[in-house]
């Protein structure tokens, strides 16, 4: 399983990189830390003509505090550097927890923020070697009109299994996408699509350059449920951001990750909790909305019934943690 042959390019500036993308899409694959790209290239899920490494682009590096108090995170900053960042650690311990929840330290020493946000969706009928896929037969993502995960599904239902998006969505982070045509900034929430094949709105000639987190004094909680701590994809994650303190909140933003094709907002659950408070009644009422909010789930990596139960568990635990946070 060697890598497929490609042209490897390592631009020294963003402009240089965008120029490559202008001339050569869609056969270009951006490379952050490569921890997912190399894996997928070995499996021939990705066979790019050109690999464009973002590692030496200075514009994509680092954490800065902007004049309005927002934080700007460069997309090619490694997760390890985000975990170690003193400003993030002080202001957003739950965000740091989410970054640290990704894979293993070995992977985080290479992986970038942009790579985690753009991480391709995963499915165990697809994320296999080419021989394996050939034996099973292709699917929506690999060129045929069949979904192996949900019989008859018209769209690919592979999971968004990345750990940092829910937490960043909860704090209303925005992402900036740059191309030779210019730049656009949009809420991270709107970056994701409910389609396992084109799972983000990123255009083939665009680069995610930075993430901006607006200042906030709200509480933030992040939880990840996984088979193994310290080295595993999630069965499910949750991020909740709330104002107020104790059992009172007037605004709640709840985002579930890893259960569906895009991170899922639980807005109805949030409303119930605002109305009833974060006590056990509020939690029960919020949990009762989960089945509808999630809709049909796949059996990918864990059974659908478990995923549903896990969503309730995560919600309950996260709210309890939130209401017990010191003011």
């Amino acid at each position: 399983m060697l890598l497929p042959e490609h042209d490897f390019i390592k631009p020294r500036s963003l402009a240089e990189g965008l120029a490559v993308l202008r001339d050569a899409p869609p056969g270009v694959r951006l490379l952050g830390g490569g921890t997912d790209v190399v894996f997928n290239m070995r499996c021939r899920l990705m066979t790019p003509d050109t690999v464009l490494s973002l590692r030496d682009i200075p514009e994509l590096q680092g954490v800065d505090v902007l004049p309005d108090g927002s934080l700007r995170l460069g997309a090619a900053t490694r997760l390890t550097d985000l975990v170690a960042d003193p400003v993030l650690r002080e202001r957003y311990p739950a965000l740091v927890k989410a970054f640290r929840a990704v894979a293993s330290r070995h992977v985080r020493n290479m992986a970038t923020l942009g790579g985690n946000l753009c991480l391709d969706t995963r499915c165990w009928f697809t994320n296999q070697t080419k021989e394996w896929r050939d034996a099973k037969g292709p699917c929506l993502k690999t060129g045929k009109d069949v979904c192996h995960a949900i019989q008859g599904s018209p769209i690919c239902v592979a999971l968004n299994n990345a750990d940092s998006p829910p937490a960043l969505i909860a704090v209303d982070a925005t992402v900036t996408l740059a191309s030779h045509r210019g730049e656009r900034t949009l809420p991270l929430r709107d970056f994701y699509r409910e389609d396992g094949i084109r799972h983000t709105v990123l255009e083939p000639d665009e680069v995610l350059t930075e993430v901006t987190i607006p200042p906030t004094r709200d509480r933030l909680v992040f939880l990840k449920e996984t088979a193994r701590q310290g080295m595993d994809f999630s069965y499910g994650t949750i991020a909740i951001r709330a104002d107020g303190n104790g059992a009172r909140a007037t605004r709640l933003h709840i985002v579930l990750g890893s259960l569906t094709t895009a991170p899922r907002d639980l807005s109805t659950a949030g409303e119930r909790l605002v109305a009833l408070g974060l006590g056990d009644d509020g939690i029960d009422a919020a949990c009762a909305t989960i089945r509808d909010a999630l809709g049909p789930l796949t059996n990918l990596y864990s059974p659908a019934a478990y995923k549903r139960e896990l969503a309730r568990t995560l919600l309950r635990k996260a709210i309890v943690e939130l209401r017990e946070m010191p003011a």
Binding site: L3, F8, K10, R42, R55, S104, N109, Q229, G230
Partner: protein, 161 residues
């Protein structure tokens, strides 16, 4: 580029190596430089036996990174820990605490352990767990590996202090 020469410094020695875009850093270490200490396992990032340290002394997976990405960079492999014929403290601790069984994972596990020690000479339980979770030691279940790391500080260059 699709093929070409990269300059890679391994254990302090600079090498000019001909590589193709099909190779990973691991392919270069084992296949081109014949540094067989670093092992090849899953090649997909999940077993950790290919772990080497980057220039900052952090553990990275050589199977999961294109060779061309490493042009101009430096890495340390298991062969580079020994200094003047003396084992590094962590190596000696691995022997003394029986943190080695079959030894196949050992280079990767030791490079992971060394990376933990590079961050802090007196790692806590969570530092050790987090730093070693990326490698599998099928034989020891990591129990004595952790013990060896906890005691690495007792050694100077291969001797118990």
């Amino acid at each position: 580029m699709k093929k070409g020469f990269i300059t890679l410094t391994v254990n302090g020695d600079a090498h000019e190596v001909a590589v193709s875009s099909r190779h990973t850093l691991l392919d270069v270490l084992r296949g081109k430089l014949q540094l067989m200490g670093t092992k090849e396992g899953c090649t997909t990032g999940s077993c950790g036996v290919c772990t080497v340290n980057n220039a900052r002394g952090e553990a990275v997976l050589s199977c999961l990174t294109p060779a061309l990405e490493w042009d101009g960079q430096a890495v340390t492999t298991i062969e580079g820990l020994e200094k003047n014929g003396q084992l590094a403290p962590i190596q000696q601790a691995f022997i003394d605490y029986h943190a080695v069984q079959c030894g196949f994972c050992t280079p990767g596990v030791i490079m992971s352990a060394q990376a933990v020690l590079n961050l802090t000479p007196t790692p806590g339980e969570d530092d050790i767990n987090d730093g070693l979770a990326g490698v599998i030691c099928r034989c020891t279940g990591h129990i004595k590996v952790k013990e060896a790391i906890r005691h690495a500080g007792d050694y100077v260059a291969g001797r118990k202090a």
